[in-house]
């Protein structure tokens, strides 16, 4: 269990770093989704399944989708101008 926790904590730090270091917004969205998934697994490992459920549903599905849609809308607006 300790090894799994350590690995997940490390993964959370790495995926969080990836969000900050990637400069392309589209890549950032996917990095943030991966970070959400890792956090969901971490919460599961720490025996907080209810928080994990909301993190996975909101953090890896809904928020990234809204970001992607927003990026698409911005791109459309730029093309029209």
């Amino acid at each position: 269990m300790k090894a799994i926790l350590a690995a997940l904590l490390l993964l959370a730090a790495c995926s969080g770093l990836l969000v900050v270091l990637s400069r392309d917004p589209k890549r950032q969205v996917f990095a943030i989704a991966a970070n959400g998934l890792v956090l969901g697994l971490l919460f599961t490992a720490l025996q907080a399944p209810d928080v994990a459920l909301s993190e996975i549903a909101v953090g890896t599905a809904l928020t990234p989708l809204l970001y992607l849609v927003t990026l698409a809308a911005i791109a459309m607006n730029r093309a029209r101008q």
Binding site: L46, A48, P49, D50, L53, S54, A57, V58, A61, L62, L65, L66, V69, T70, A72, A73, M76
Partner: protein, 258 residues
């Protein structure tokens, strides 16, 4: 200030703060040790007082139920604000068919991804109903159930395209569900006042501990929150997606487009 100066300042600040951070970190209780007195009290008292086995639900929907009502209204206000903001530039009228941007490539879905989405969506919906109904028994509850239900609806979009998503998940219905859920929560909070007892007091039978029906009023409150979250997020996603369409272009109702 050049980049090198900034880096130097950062390192100096970190060095200056390091002893304080170290002192706090070493004084922390060991990792995973349950020290919070509130949690211990809740664990000891609530199974008997409220006959629920999910203590998080007991705290959220009973002990601090009024706070949760405030959070729920916050979600409602946030969604309403986003809708007003987006419709302000687009107009109140809803196009009959899904708009389509001329010249945008139509992405054909793989049979495999269509099948996975069509099988996955109903399973996820059933799971969200399970999570909502077992809110007082097992981890989860209304918010989680609503968020899972919305991701099930998103699978319809992923597998069958925007036009069909728009017809299968009617936005007015989602707005109605959101309002219905919020109303159910408000009624559950306000009706006990008519009997001269504090808001959210459970007048329903408490049920059996660890049973599907346990916790009395927390069951309808959980369902209300699930409906409100489902409707709220669905409306939000729908309004955002309308932003990437041009309604004045030729409607192509049956075409799958990405």
């Amino acid at each position: 200030m050049t980049a090198r100066w900034r880096l130097g300042l950062l390192i100096a600040a970190m060095l200056a703060l390091a002893p304080a951070v170290w002192a706090v970190v070493t004084a922390l209780p060991p990792f995973g040790s349950p020290t919070a007195a509130y949690g211990q009290v809740v664990n000891r008292l609530l199974p008997h007082l409220r006959t629920v086995s999910n203590m998080v639900a007991a705290v959220n929907f009973d002990v601090r139920g009024l706070d949760t009502l405030g959070e729920e209204s916050m979600l409602l206000c946030a969604v309403t604000g986003a809708v007003v903001l987006l419709r302000g530039s687009r107009g109140e009228d809803r196009a009959e068919h899904a708009g389509r941007v001329p010249g945008r490539a139509t992405i054909e879905r793989d049979d495999a991804s269509i099948v996975v989405c069509r099988i996955g969506a109903p399973i996820l919906l059933a799971f969200s109903a399970y999570v909502a109904l077992h809110g007082t028994v097992t981890p989860g509850g209304g918010f989680q159930a609503g968020a899972i239900a919305v991701s099930a609806l998103l699978l319809v979009y992923l597998g069958d395209g925007y036009a069909r998503w728009r017809s299968r998940v009617p936005h007015p219905l989602m707005a109605f569900i959101e309002g219905l859920g919020a109303l159910l929560f408000v009624l559950c909070a306000a009706l006990p006042l008519a009997w001269s007892v504090p808001a959210l007091t459970s007048l329903l039978p408490t049920g059996k501990w660890k049973d599907l029906y346990s916790g009395g009023l927390m069951v309808p409150v959980n369902i209300g929150v699930a409906l409100a979250v489902l409707g709220g997020f669905a409306v939000l996603v729908a309004e955002f997606m309308e932003e990437t369409r041009t309604p004045e272009s030729d409607p192509v109702p049956d075409e799958e487009d990405a």
